[in-house]
């Protein structure tokens, strides 16, 4: 393993870009109608609880990633099976996000372009960046973060000054009671994007040793900030577009920003949103792809990670096409099947199992941990 270590600032940026990634563009928690922004906050809180669990595991094995410590917890063979499952999970998520990104780009901008072209170009860039190392991805993230933050601030100011918002669209809060909001929130919003923090079980070992104590604090702060940004963005979308339109377009943010028209001069800013979409999509797919490369490395004992980045990239391209035959099916799977049957087991059930097994075998493992680190 190359010994590149990230500091707290990079860690924080990594979380923000990863969390906002694609989530800021697609309508999150939209089943809750005009209460969608509350559903996101619920999801955030639940996601934070999950993250505390991941942090607990990290605390026990500060030098090991998830696919490595399962091998310690369960022994080599069973551990490798778990690791393999996680590898598939990360691969699937990489493919999902890539498909999201491609489909949305296609339906909004490149209507005639085949999706495989868009996806291939994206993966080609990602593979190139990852081949140069994780360090390059993190530093790219730092540059992108400044850009995204700047664009975000500019867009918010413009929306505010264009006087587009009607806060009545957000009322009544809990109009249908709390239940529909909870239903919309669980299990979808905790798992996407907050529960996807499970990838950080693979990335936390990259933190500099002196920063390890703050991993939880900064992690929760990052999730809090991104949750707040997501929630206000969705609230803004609804206030601009109205509950119906906001929940019935694939791209609420794009539709909201398209309405900006200041003095017949500052207008048609949708290009900026597409720009953020590309940055967000790039970063999210890259993180998932990198994490699945790391998992594959641990499971199959590959020495050089660079040698498998390309092939895994190809797998992601092909599976992003193959996972669904049309966009409706893709979204439907994402909302109804994936959270229950894939996200929850991998984000909540299995980590909980790991914690329980760890607590049961604490004594034996302590011996191992001390011997391995020495």
């Amino acid at each position: 393993m190359k010994s590149y270590k990230i500091d707290l600032q990079q860690y924080f940026i990594l979380i923000i870009l990863f969390e906002l990634g694609s989530a800021i563009l697609v309508g999150l928690g939209m089943d809750a109608g005009r209460d969608a922004w509350i559903a996101i906050l619920f999801g955030m809180v639940a996601g934070m609880i999950l993250f505390s669990g991941y942090y607990f595991l990290y605390k026990q094995f500060p030098d090991l990633s998830l696919t490595q410590y399962v091998q310690v917890l369960f022994g080599k063979h069973i551990g490798k099976i778990f690791g393999f499952c996680y590898m598939l999970y990360f691969l699937y998520l990489a493919a999902r996000v890539l498909r999201d990104f491609g489909s949305l780009l296609l339906s909004a901008v490149f209507v005639q372009t085949p999706i495989i072209v868009v996806n291939t170009l994206m993966i080609a860039t990602i593979v190139y960046v990852l081949k140069l190392g994780f360090e390059v991805l993190v530093r790219t993230g730092e540059i992108f973060f400044v850009l995204v933050a700047l664009l975000g601030v500019i867009l918010t100011v413009l929306v505010l000054s264009a006087d587009l918002m009607d806060f009545n669209y957000l009322l009544p809060i809990f109009g249908e009671g709390v239940m529909p909001v909870l239903k919309a929130a669980f299990p979808v919003t905790p798992t996407f994007p907050f529960g996807e923090m499970v990838v950080f079980t693979m990335l936390l070992p990259y933190l500099k040793v002196k920063n390890r104590n703050k991993a939880l604090k900064i992690g929760l702060l990052g999730m809090g900030v991104s949750g707040f940004v997501l929630s206000t963005t969705i609230a803004m979308d609804i206030a601009v577009l109205g509950g119906h339109v906001a929940t019935h377009v694939y791209f609420p943010l794009l539709a909201a920003v398209a309405k900006i028209n200041i003095g017949e001069f500052i207008q048609r800013l949708d290009a900026i949103v597409v720009f953020t979409l590309i940055i967000g999509g790039f970063f999210k797919v890259a993180v998932f792809l990198y994490v699945s490369v790391k998992a594959a490395q641990d499971v199959f004992g590959v020495k050089e990670e660079t040698s498998i980045i390309g092939p895994i990239g190809v797998v992601v391209i092909l599976s992003s096409i193959a996972i669904a035959s049309n966009y409706v099916e893709h979204i439907n799977e994402g909302l109804n099947i994936v959270p229950d049957f894939i996200h929850i087991p991998f984000q909540a059930v299995l980590p909980a199992l790991f914690i329980i097994v760890f607590l049961l075998r604490k004594k034996k493992l302590k011996h191992f941990a001390s011997s391995s680190s020495s």
């Binding site: 901008v109 291939t120 009322l171 309405k259």
Partner: protein
């Protein structure tokens, strides 16, 4: 060898980076500015496209030479639905129709009376059409005629109409800009119905379609005319004049307008210019029939005085304020009566009731809103402030002690 090594990847990049699929070359596009939709006798859609001629809009581009060319041209095509008609138009257009700059969508009265829903979906689904497109209804004329009318100031009719909409909303307040999203949202709102601006042709209608139109003394013009009231997607009638303005008072969308307030017996009395206005709505859902409280807070100036009063006397100002409040209150009540007459909740009351008491709305009002809406009690309270009276103090009539009353009364 090294050069070759560089050259091959670069040329491979050329293969994929040219963006061949969604390229839009300017000289291969027909930029659509306005879309009109009518209905033929068989129930098919007749769609009219107003397309600009780029060489005349930006003459510097091609030089001043060349003969006189029309500024825009109009295509018309038919189809069972909007998309079919659009693609069908390619049989007569030399370039692809490009909708990103379309500024207005005009429905015919015929279509509006039958069903407006079927034409709205494509416009909100197509990624090329911007959601800022304004929706209008051609009143007493057809969309095709509106889109063919030559206008004098903004040379393209669609530009002119959207500019007019903007200006009149800010100065007069009987029309309000309604883009496609707002129309859709008002359909979806609890109990809500859309309210769509009407547009008509005035002047010499035969002249409208000739380029001579803006060279003659009395040209045909496009003119905004009332707002169409809908019920279940069908045009039921029109709100005109003060009735239409009442809607904007209710929704708090008045930016500026002028209201005539009588003084003593003089109907022409004062012209009160509203500078800004605020509206607060609240609903009480205690009984079977809800009550809605409307509070309007206009801030105004006196812009014209046709009677002999001492405007330097504060008590006189208070009197005018009271009179003004009365006028506005009546105006709003008339609008409410008209909407209740059509039994069409264009005022957003359903949404207000839902906001105020979601449970009661869902269980009581929603199902029988048809019967509830005409019964809703509305209480209007106007609390206006007159701030200034222009750059004059009292009118000259007051100084000369002329009583203007009789003259005007007799006229």
């Amino acid at each position: 060898m090294k050069v070759l090594k560089c050259f091959i990847p670069f040329s491979l990049c050329l293969l994929i980076l040219t963006g061949c699929w969604d390229q839009n070359e300017l000289d291969e596009l027909s930029i659509v500015m306005g879309i009109g939709i009518n209905l033929d006798n068989k129930g098919h859609l007749i769609v009219t496209y107003q397309v600009v001629n780029p060489t005349t809009v930006a003459p510097g581009l091609m030089g001043e030479g060349g003969g006189k060319q029309p500024i825009f041209t109009v295509y018309e095509s038919k189809g069972k639905n909007l998309m079919e008609a659009t693609r069908n138009a390619s049989k007569e257009t030399s370039r692809r129709l490009f909708f990103a700059h379309a500024r207005m969508l005009v429905f015919s009265e015929k279509l509006a009376k039958k069903n407006i829903y079927e034409a709205l979906d494509m416009m909100s689904r197509d990624p090329e059409v911007r959601s800022t497109i304004q929706v209008l209804i051609a009143r007493n004329t057809t969309p095709s005629k509106i889109l063919r009318t030559f206008t004098a100031i903004d040379k393209v009719t669609s530009d002119e109409v959207t500019a007019i909409l903007n200006i009149t909303e800010q100065n007069w307040g009987e029309n309000v800009q309604q883009d496609i999203n707002e129309v859709l949202q008002s359909i979806i709102n609890e109990g809500g119905e859309p309210l769509i601006n009407g547009i008509e042709l005035t002047g010499d209608k035969d002249l409208a379609v000739t380029s001579r139109n803006y060279e003659v003394g009395e040209p045909a013009r496009v003119k905004l005319s009332g707002m169409g009231v809908f019920k279940k997607g069908k045009l039921k009638g029109w709100l005109d004049g003060p009735n239409a303005r009442g809607v904007l008072w209710l929704k708090g969308k008045i930016k500026s307008t002028v209201v005539t307030v009588p003084c003593n017996n003089n109907k022409k009395g004062y012209a009160i210019e509203v500078v800004r206005s605020n509206t607060e709505l609240s609903a009480s859902t205690k009984g079977d029939v809800p009550t809605i409280d409307v509070k309007v807070f206009p801030e105004t100036n006196i812009a014209e005085t046709n009677c002999s009063v001492n405007l330097q006397d504060p008590s006189e100002i208070v009197k005018i304020e009271k009179e003004f409040n009365n006028v506005i209150q009546k105006e709003i009540m008339k609008t409410v009566k008209a909407a209740q007459g059509y039994n069409s909740d264009i005022l957003g009351f359903g949404e207000l009731l839902y906001r105020e008491n979601p449970k009661k709305w869902n269980h009581m009002y929603k199902k029988k809103y048809n019967r509830v809406f005409p019964e809703i009690k509305v209480q209007v309270k106007v609390d206006s402030r007159i701030r200034r009276s222009g750059i004059r103090t009292s009118p000259f009539l007051f100084d000369k002690k002329i009583e203007n009353k009789e003259e005007v009364d007799s006229s």
